[in-house]
Amino acid sequence: MSVLSIDNLTVSFPGRKSTFTAVEGVSLTLEAGKILGVVGESGAGKSTVGNAVIGLLQEPGRIAAGEIRLDGERIDQMPEASLRKLRGKRIGMIFQDPLTSLDPLQTIEAQLVETIRVHLPLSPAQARQRALELLKAVGIPGAEERLSQYPHQFSGGMRQRVVIALALCAEPELIIADEPTTALDVSIQAQILELLRKLCRERSVAMMVITHDMGVIAELTDQVAVMYRGKLVEHGPTAQVLGHPSHAYTKSLISAVPRPDVRVERFPSVSYIEEAAAPSSTIDLSTHWLGKTRNFASAGGPLLSLSGLSMRFETKSSVFPSRRRYFDAVKSVSFDIMEGETFGLVGESGSGKSTIARLITGLYHPTGGSIRFAGQELTALKERSQILAMRRQMQMIFQDPFSSLNARMRVRSIVAEPIKFHRLASSNAEVQQIVGDLLDHVGLGAAAGDKFPHEFSGGQRQRISIARALATRPRFLVCDEPTSALDVSIQAQILNLLKDLQEELGLTMLFISHDLAVIRQMCNRVAVMRNGELCELADCERLFTSPEHPYTRQLLTLMPSMELLAASPQG
């Protein structure tokens, strides 16, 4: 008998005017010791399925139809009191962000013991003993000492292990893991996936993994269910679904996944989710505003040249110099970026890649070293007019499309602001004309200018950010994780847009990402960073085919293998 069986589940959120159906007619089964992946993009309803199973649907959501059975026992209609006895005891749950899943004011021990004692008839001392065993089982070294520590004293990966230990407290039959590795670095992700797989096999727990990441699916699951707008579009053994997808949506989703093993010129556009229109006109650089002053004096040599760049932050201040503590975020990094190329910077969190972006754009002032842009030493610039002129030539696109746009400004004003600030247009009418052109060119249409940022989706907002960056007629674009907050099909569109713009406008790009697969698709040359140091710098293809530095090799092996995936149509 299956541990979990979901039959024709429909979840709806009644609203004031209409009822929104988040999940519609989903049927799934899951056996003990097996891992089922539920994959889909944001809004597909995959998390809602998990929440419905554990009985924690967000208000005002409710199960409108269908049945959920745990070991044959119907649980979707259980009263809250009996459901609570189920949670933690028979169904464990793991959330996405280990940094926020634990109560910051309680020790790990308090949280473990409290959970154990709710479900099992153990004395405090026995519960503590069990907590220790659990910590050892999830691979936390020095469990004895760490037991009395607080969550903030653990690293992200270790915290996720604690969360897993908490989910295992009462030996549940079923574990629901909602994006268990999304917030983690690639090396930590590999470890956590390994741990989940091991626990699942050893304790013969059934696991439902909810994720948007095809890599996690390919790496971890036995079966996969693909969801699209609340419906289950495809369901079957992982190898079969990924290798020979039958539904059109699955096919297009798989083709949009950046592949670390192959480089494609363009991502095939996903016909299912198209949220942008093709630009209505092409821009002729020789006549258009965007092309003016493009003939920068080319000094020959690299456009941007870093040498011995370092950045040190004070982590503990003191009156006495000997007692101050520092953190070296960037340690003597040197590289050149040639005119017109896309230079990739890759590394895990804390490697200093974002710090470099901020140093180049002048958000931080370096502790040492030099930054030369078009032959000019940036660190030596004193006059405001000179600094502004430099800033105009470099623009930045940030990671989070939700917080990087002012929510109180209309899109038109957001894009017009840099033009007005740098006085790049002669009249207001010209500004409006340019803004319209830019919005049209990034695929939003000129009419988008009258709306506010919140009316757009994540991908569309990132397009607004790109339009804003282009508004100063930049020569150099710094993209700091521009697509890591986006769904895979949207990511493919944004990456295509960046490629097109670069080609059209002859931009030079610094592309920062933790995702090696994306880097491979975008970049000409790549630098690998670790702990503030440059490990390896090579041509993109060479880095992926014959990496030299051991760390690069390690990173490459850690990437979830995509061999299961169907060959990309263009690949």
Binding site: T100, P104, Q153, A167
Partner: protein, 324 residues
């Protein structure tokens, strides 16, 4: 921890010195202190003698140092209007003000915290809506008006409670008098402490409610639910403790302002506390009393802030690591 406490102590001392400087300049430069003390017919020679004996001819830094030396021993000179040492005047008044402030703070906390928790957890219930409406009154009506309203209702119309004064007091030790031990003292305390504490209560309630709403949406509360913990444990052990940090900040500051702003309530209820004394001092340009009041209030604020900072440490383990 110790280093942090020391650093805060030094900062507190600097604040106190700055306040003392203001009080000193008020004493020294707002009018001529000698003119305030003597009558019109006093001769110039005896004025000079007084000036010399008060040390007013010494260099300013010396005078300031002497002022601080005296202030530390709680010697603020003689009140112009009462011809009594300021310290004695305050000693008589302090118990009244502290008892009133303490009772209103207690009232604000005991009523405000449960109401806030309830309103945060049951957002839609009619009782929460009632709490919010009542709290709107508490925030928008001025203190003196609430006081007069209460007097009118409970003293004049119903004649349940006294409208002014402290009632009978009992002396404890040589200088502390308390109203806590007599029936009339307790009855006299009710109206003024509600008047004084109503604003703080509504503030605490609304703050706890807002924080509760915020906290119950966090991942760790969701995760606590998914771990199968009961609602009582989730709300009281996990949610409430996490709401307390901003609440402590505000409560601490508010406790300071309860003491400082008792002035109005004390006037309305003719409560024989420091606030009433201060008001009389302002009317009669009684500079030593004003200076002493200023320093005393500042001292209370600074000590409360200091205690609040230490409380943060006890509640939030993240701070312990950062500062240690």
């Amino acid at each position: 921890m110790l280093g942090f406490a020391l650093r805060r102590l030094v900062q507190a001392l600097i604040v106190m010195l700055a306040v003392a400087l203001i009080a000193f300049s008020m004493f020294r430069f707002v009018g001529d202190p000698v003119n305030q003390m003597v009558g019109l017919e006093t001769s110039i020679e005896s004025r000079e003698a007084l000036r010399e004996s008060l040390g007013l001819n010494d260099p300013l830094p010396v005078q300031f140092a002497r002022f601080i030396g005296n202030a530390v021993q709680f010697d603020f000179g003689t009140s112009y209007q009462f011809r009594q040492p300021v310290a004695d005047l305050f000693a008589k008044r302090i118990p009244a003000t502290l008892e009133l402030s303490f009772t209103s703070a207690l009232f604000a906390l005991i009523a405000g915290i449960p109401m806030g928790i309830y309103a945060g957890l049951n957002r839609e219930s009619w009782l929460s809506k009632l709490f919010l409406s009542v709290s709107l009154i508490g925030i928008s009506l001025p203190t003196f008006f609430i006081g007069i309203l209460l007097i009118f209702l409970f003293s004049v119309t119903l004649q349940w409670l006294p409208s002014f004064g402290r009632g009978d007091v009992v002396e404890i030790g040589s200088w502390w008098t308390t109203g806590f031990l007599t029936v009339s003292g307790l009855k006299a305390l009710i109206l003024p402490s509600i008047t004084l504490g109503l604003y703080q209560m509504t503030l605490i309630m609304r703050l706890i409610r807002a924080e509760m709403l915020e906290v119950i949406r966090t991942d760790y509360i969701k995760f606590a639910r998914a771990r199968g913990l009961s609602n009582r444990v989730i709300y009281l052990r996990h949610a409430l403790k996490n709401t307390l940090i901003p609440v402590i900040t505000i409560t601490g500051l508010q406790l300071g302002s309860i003491i400082a702003f008792a002035t109005i309530t004390e006037t309305v209820f003719q409560w024989p506390g420091m606030g009433l004394l201060f008001l009389q001092a302002v009317q009669n340009v009684d500079i030593p009393v004003m200076a002493a009041y200023l320093i005393l209030t500042a001292f209370l604020f600074v000590s409360i802030n200091f205690i609040v900072d230490i409380l943060y440490f006890l509640i939030d383990p993240r701070l312990r690591v950062k500062q240690a």
